[in-house]
Every structure is written in structure tokens, then in C-alpha cells.
């Protein structure tokens, strides 16, 4: 179990252009405290790339390899092989992608890399839509959510399909370790990052990362929403390890309304007739 008080104070990502209250950059910042400086990041065009790697303001203090949107995990395989040839197998290779770059356009490459059994960690920061391009729906958008491509109107009621079950998809690859987490529960999240790091072979962590402009809430509520998502049963904290799936039980679930009412993307579901 990771002890939060023992995490290093120094930052490996600092000075980014991320929005106030960005759940994504928080997910990356926290993970890097566990991963440490002997890490290589592989990422793709996304909010993360946009806010951390625009020359000359480069926010990462670890090497970062940016690649095309579909290719995070393919480039990871190359970096892993290259470092092995250079005798640097101890360096951790970490893929960072949003939900679109993971469950949609990046899925084929991720499937390939997991199937090949390469030694890497893939962290999907899930903000449940294409935020970088202006809040379009992704395969990870929850049902009912209003996005710019699932608008609400006389005939439209927001997203009409369930969220893609990515954990089941990676589990079907017999992945050694996979988990879901929330930035609202840092000890749980970082313990899972630690386990992913210690896993021999591929490991996958999908972390809920609320997005103030995309979800439509005030930026001080990011952590609160990340907790409410778990407490209302909207975001299960799960682990797939040694072929077994375990889901953390929510002892006293809170009413779903508490979670939905804080977000403009669900406002139409609650509006009185």
C-alpha cells in the first residue's frame, strides 16, 4: 500500500497549461510520484500533449515520446525494444492516453501490445469524452451525457449507448494486471500504479479524471466529483489480477442525484417537466 505522506515532494510534471481543476493532469502528476524519474512517457495528441509539450514550454522532467493518435501502444513496443537493445531495460515505459486515445482510436494498438506481452504500464485518464477537440462523445461517454455530438433537443437525449467495458476487454487478453481507479481516492489509485509498475508484462490502469469544462462544473469540485462517482456506484473501483476480478464494495451508496446534479452534462436528465 502506497503511503501518501511518504511520496516525494518534487514534481516530474510542472508548469503545464492544464485548466484549473483538470483531473487529467492530476492523474499524471500523482502517478509520476510513484513511477519516479527512471520513466519514459509515451503519449499522443490529447489534452495532455497540448498542455505539456508545446515547445518551448515543456512540462515533463522525464523523457516524453509523442506519437500519432492511434499509436500510443505501438510506439511503446518500439521504445521497450529499443531500450532493451540499449541495455536500459530498467527504465519504465508508461503510456498515457485519454479515453478516446485508449478505447476508440488507440484500441487496436493497445490490443497488439498487450498480446505481445511487452513490459509496460498503460494509464488511461478517462474524462469520458474527446475534451481536447471540444467535448465530443467517445466510446467511454456514459449514457445520458450531453456532449457536442450527443446534444439534447426535441429528439436527442444525450449519449444513448453504454460505456465501453474496457477492463473486460483488456482482461480478455489475459493481461497480468488491470485496474480502475479514481483521482478522488489517491491511495487506492497510486497503490494500483505501484502494482502495475511491479508487474512483469503489460499492466493497465484506467483512472477517472473529471473535466470541469467538459462536464460543466466549477473547477473546485473535481475531487468531490471523482469521489461521488465511486460513492454513487457510477465508477466501480476494480482490479483484475491473476485472472480474478474484484470490485470494491460501496458500503453505503449515495443517491445518484448527488453526482448528476453537480454537472451540466446531465442537467436535462433532472430538469422538471
Amino acid at each position: 500500500m502506497v503511503k501518501l505522506k511518504e511520496l516525494p515532494g518534487n514534481e516530474l510534471v510542472q508548469g503545464s497549461y492544464a485548466c484549473a481543476g483538470c483531473g487529467g493532469i492530476l492523474a499524471v502528476r500523482m502517478a509520476l510520484k510513484v513511477l519516479g524519474p527512471e520513466t519514459v512517457i509515451v503519449t499522443t495528441p490529447s489534452c495532455l500533449l497540448g498542455v505539456t509539450t508545446f515547445y518551448p514550454q515543456l512540462a515533463f522532467k522525464v523523457p516524453c515520446v509523442n506519437v500519432t493518435f492511434p499509436s500510443t501502444a505501438a510506439a511503446i513496443s518500439g521504445v521497450v525494444a529499443g531500450l532493451r537493445r540499449r541495455g536500459k531495460s530498467g527504465v519504465k515505459v508508461v503510456g498515457l492516453a485519454g479515453d478516446g486515445g485508449t478505447v476508440d482510436i488507440g484500441l487496436q494498438a493497445l490490443s497488439g501490445a498487450i498480446e505481445r506481452g511487452d513490459n509496460f504500464i498503460f494509464i488511461c485518464y478517462d474524462n469520458e469524452a474527446y475534451m481536447n477537440t471540444g467535448v465530443q462523445r467517445s466510446g467511454s461517454t456514459p449514457p445520458g451525457a450531453r456532449t457536442t455530438t450527443t446534444p439534447v433537443g426535441r429528439a436527442g437525449r444525450g449519449e444513448d449507448r453504454p460505456k465501453k467495458d474496457m477492463l473486460a476487454i483488456v482482461a480478455a487478453h489475459n493481461i497480468p494486471y488491470a485496474a480502475t481507479a479514481s483521482i478522488g481516492y489517491p491511495q487506492d489509485y497510486l497503490t494500483k500504479v505501484q502494482k502495475a509498475m511491479e508487474t512483469e508484462g503489460p499492466a493497465y490502469v484506467q483512472v477517472l479524471a473529471p473535466c470541469p469544462p467538459g462536464w460543466g462544473y466549477s473547477s473546485h469540485l473535481t475531487v468531490k466529483l471523482a469521489r461521488l462517482a465511486v460513492q454513487t456506484g457510477q465508477w466501480p473501483l476494480a482490479e483484475y489480477e491473476g485472472g480474478r476480478l474484484t470490485v470494491k464494495e460501496v458500503a453505503n451508496p449515495r443517491p445518484l442525484n448527488e453526482y448528476l446534479a453537480l454537472q451540466a452534462r446531465f442537467a436535462h436528465l433532472l430538469a422538471s417537466k
Binding site: 515547445y55 523523457p63 509523442n66 506519437v67 510506439a75 518500439g78 521504445v79 494498438a109 497488439g112
Partner: protein, 405 residues
């Protein structure tokens, strides 16, 4: 050592001799036998490399890119649809100045579906920022792959190279190839150790973003490097010749062009047929020559002008088509000569042929020369010199397989 190799085997041999350390590739006809051979080399222990068995060509190039930025010599190969699928990654690799080498076993693009040779696949990637070298023989395929690693990684170039060889005609046709000794190749190609590589001790971002105030500078540097590559390609060819005794002229490979009235310009294996036709016409007293373009990008404007300036008609044979205009090479040759701005600029007659593996026979090339020579005679008589009429010696007017643009 002399060996009986086809073009694809020659490429695989070069990759082994170059000591490529990471190979990522996806099967596609007619490229596949290159990477099958490399997989064999790795399996039998004669090549120490990681072979990444990727799930697509897009992933192949992404994996090569990832491996290359760690400071390893990498290789991939593809054809046709696979190259088209890589299109997005091509720009990333060149823009990031990653000196990859890729063999492109040229094949037409669907639809209609085809597996046979033309140059449409690579020509369609003209503006991706890759150096494109087209070869004539299996021997040249081997030698050019070795040269390509040297050119790409030159500190003033840092630009990826496609080595283009015609599908089947080169890829699957055996010839006697002189395979250089490993010791000699090691002298020519020392291990690849770039100045910038992934290293946690010195964090660097590969593939930055750049706003409007900086983006043009990166593209300008890229362009300057590609222009500089024209000299480096020639230098490397000379250095190769000094070590191995074989030279391909660097950017262009002229054959009987001195004093020629008509010169045929083309790329790839068709040059072999064209040499025979030129020999035959020369024996009959016709002043004809062949200019094989080896480097399509960078485009060797000065070399082309100096060879073609004194000619009366330049025939260009394209194994590609820019639909709605003409063959791409024809356009480029016209532009190069127009820019020369010298009196007596030769007429350029563009022919398109050999698409989707259709044969380019000696009589087809003879027909092109005949029509161009007739135009020269008309010019000599003070008549309108435009090249016109049927293509083939056998009297077919406008051939479906070969047409005047």
C-alpha cells in the same frame, strides 16, 4: 561473396549487414519476403535484433519510430495499401527528424485491387518529407539500403529514406548479387549512436507541439536538410564506390545522354529494358539516351538541367498518374526545365504506362523514342514539333496500357 538473390532477399541481406537492431513489420505482398527473410536471420542467430510482430503497418512505423528515438538502428518494409496506411506516421517520422530506413516494394493501389508493380504508392507520398531512392537491380537494392542508413543519419540530413524497388520485376526476380563482407560494411556503417535519444538522465520531448510562431522554422529546417541531402547522397555514393567498387551516379544515372536529341527519363527497373532499346537505336544511328532518376526526393534539379539542357525532346515515362493532369514525374521535369530559363528548352512529352504491373515492352519504349524522333525531325524542318501519334510499334494508336499525357 556472389549470391543468387532476388530484390527482396537483397534488401534483407543489406538490413542484416547494416546490423539493424529493431525491425517492426506487417505482411503485405510483394514486400513480405523481405521481413520473412529477416525473421529467419534472427531465428538462426545470424542477426541480433528484436522483431516486433505488429498488428498493422501504421503500428509498424509507430514501433520503428519508438525504437529509433531510443537510439537504435531500425528497419521496416511495406507496399501499396500498407504504405497508404502508414501515411499519417510518415509525416511524424520525418518531422521528428528520425532517420529511419524503409524498403517500399512498389505496387499499385486499389481500386481495382492489384498486387502488381507501379509507382503510385510511393509517388503519392511525395510530400511526406521522406527521401525516395528508386533502384534498378537487386544489387542496387542491397547497396542503396546500406547507403540509405548513412544518408538518413547524416547530422545535416536526419531525414528518413524510402528505398523503392519495383514489385515482382525486382522483388521476386533472382540475379547474381555481390554481397559485401561484414567487415567492410562495418567500416562504412559504424553503429548508430545519435546525439539525441530517450534517456532519463537527459529528458527530451520527441514530437513537440509548435505554435504558428515556431512551426514554420521547423518546416524550413526540414526543407533545408532535404535540399542538403542532394550533396550527401552524391558524397555517400562516392564513398560507397571507393569501398565497394560500385557507383550509381548518386542522384541521376545517365546513359548515352551526351549529345542526345531525345532522352527518356524514368525510374526503377524499366531502365534495364530502356538500356537495350537505347543500345539498339544507337546502333542504328539515332541520337537517343536514357536518364534514370534515382532520387525522386530530393529532386535533383541542377543535375537534370545539366543533362537535359542540350536535348530537343525529353520523353518522361511515369508509372503513376496524377488523375486529371498527367504523370507526376512529367510535371516535375517540365517545371525543372522551365525554371532553367535557357533558350531552346526541350519539349517534354509525358507518357504514363506500366500501371498495375502491365508490361513495358522494348517495342513500347522504341515507340516512344520513334514518336519523339519524329517530332525532332519536324522541328528540324521548321514544322510544329509536338510529339503526337500512336505509342506502340505495333501500330496501336493510343494504347490503353501506355498513353501520352
Amino acid at each position: 561473396m556472389r549470391a543468387y538473390l532476388n530484390g527482396n532477399e537483397a534488401v534483407a541481406t543489406a538490413v542484416r549487414l547494416a546490423r539493424a537492431e529493431v525491425v517492426a513489420a506487417y505482411p503485405i505482398t510483394p514486400q513480405s519476403t523481405i521481413v520473412e527473410k529477416i525473421a529467419e536471420y534472427i531465428a538462426d542467430g545470424s542477426m541480433a535484433a528484436d522483431y516486433i510482430r505488429v498488428e498493422s503497418e501504421h503500428a509498424a512505423l509507430a514501433a520503428c519510430y519508438g525504437a529509433a528515438v531510443t537510439g537504435t538502428r531500425v528497419f521496416t518494409a511495406t507496399s501499396s495499401q500498407g504504405l497508404a496506411y502508414m501515411f499519417e506516421m510518415l509525416h511524424y517520422v520525418s518531422g521528428c527528424r528520425v532517420p529511419l530506413v524503409m524498403a517500399v516494394t512498389n505496387r499499385g493501389l486499389a481500386a481495382p485491387w492489384t498486387i502488381w508493380a507501379d509507382h503510385q504508392d510511393a509517388i503519392a507520398c511525395r510530400d511526406t518529407g521522406w527521401i525516395q531512392l528508386y533502384v534498378e537491380t537487386a544489387q542496387e537494392a542491397l547497396d542503396t539500403c546500406l547507403q540509405a542508413y548513412k544518408i538518413a543519419a547524416h547530422p545535416e540530413v536526419l531525414t528518413p529514406v524510402m528505398v523503392c524497388l519495383d514489385g515482382y520485376v525486382l522483388s521476386h526476380t533472382e540475379e547474381i548479387v555481390d554481397v559485401p563482407d561484414q567487415e567492410a560494411v562495418d567500416v562504412f556503417l559504424p553503429p548508430y549512436r545519435p546525439e539525441y535519444a530517450v534517456d532519463p538522465a537527459r529528458p527530451i520531448v520527441f514530437g513537440i507541439g509548435a505554435g504558428p510562431e515556431l512551426y514554420p522554422a521547423f518546416k524550413h529546417y526540414q526543407h533545408q536538410a532535404m535540399l542538403r541531402a542532394r550533396e550527401i547522397i552524391e558524397d555517400v555514393d562516392r564513398e560507397f564506390a571507393a569501398l565497394f567498387g560500385r557507383s550509381y551516379g548518386g542522384l541521376v544515372d545517365p546513359y548515352y545522354c551526351d549529345g542526345a536529341e531525345v532522352v527518356l527519363v524514368l525510374m526503377g527497373a524499366t531502365a534495364g529494358t530502356a538500356r537495350e532499346v537505347v543500345d539498339d537505336l544507337r546502333r542504328r544511328g539515332e541520337q537517343v539516351g536514357l536518364l534514370r532518376l534515382r532520387s525522386f526526393r530530393p529532386f535533383p534539379v541542377a543535375a537534370l538541367r545539366s543533362v537535359l539542357a542540350g536535348t530537343k525532346v525529353v520523353a518522361v515515362l511515369d508509372r503513376d498518374c496524377s488523375f486529371g493532369y498527367e504523370g507526376v514525374l512529367a510535371t516535375e521535369i517540365k517545371a525543372a526545365l522551365q525554371g532553367a530559363n535557357v533558350p531552346g528548352t526541350p519539349e517534354v512529352a509525358g507518357f504514363t504506362g506500366g500501371l498495375g504491373g502491365s508490361d513495358i515492352r522494348p517495342e513500347d519504349l522504341a515507340g516512344i523514342f520513334r514518336r519523339c524522333l519524329e517530332a525532332v525531325r519536324r522541328r528540324d524542318r521548321g514544322e510544329s514539333p509536338a510529339v503526337s501519334g500512336g505509342c506502340s510499334e505495333n501500330g496501336k494508336a493510343e494504347g490503353i496500357n501506355l498513353w501520352l499525357s
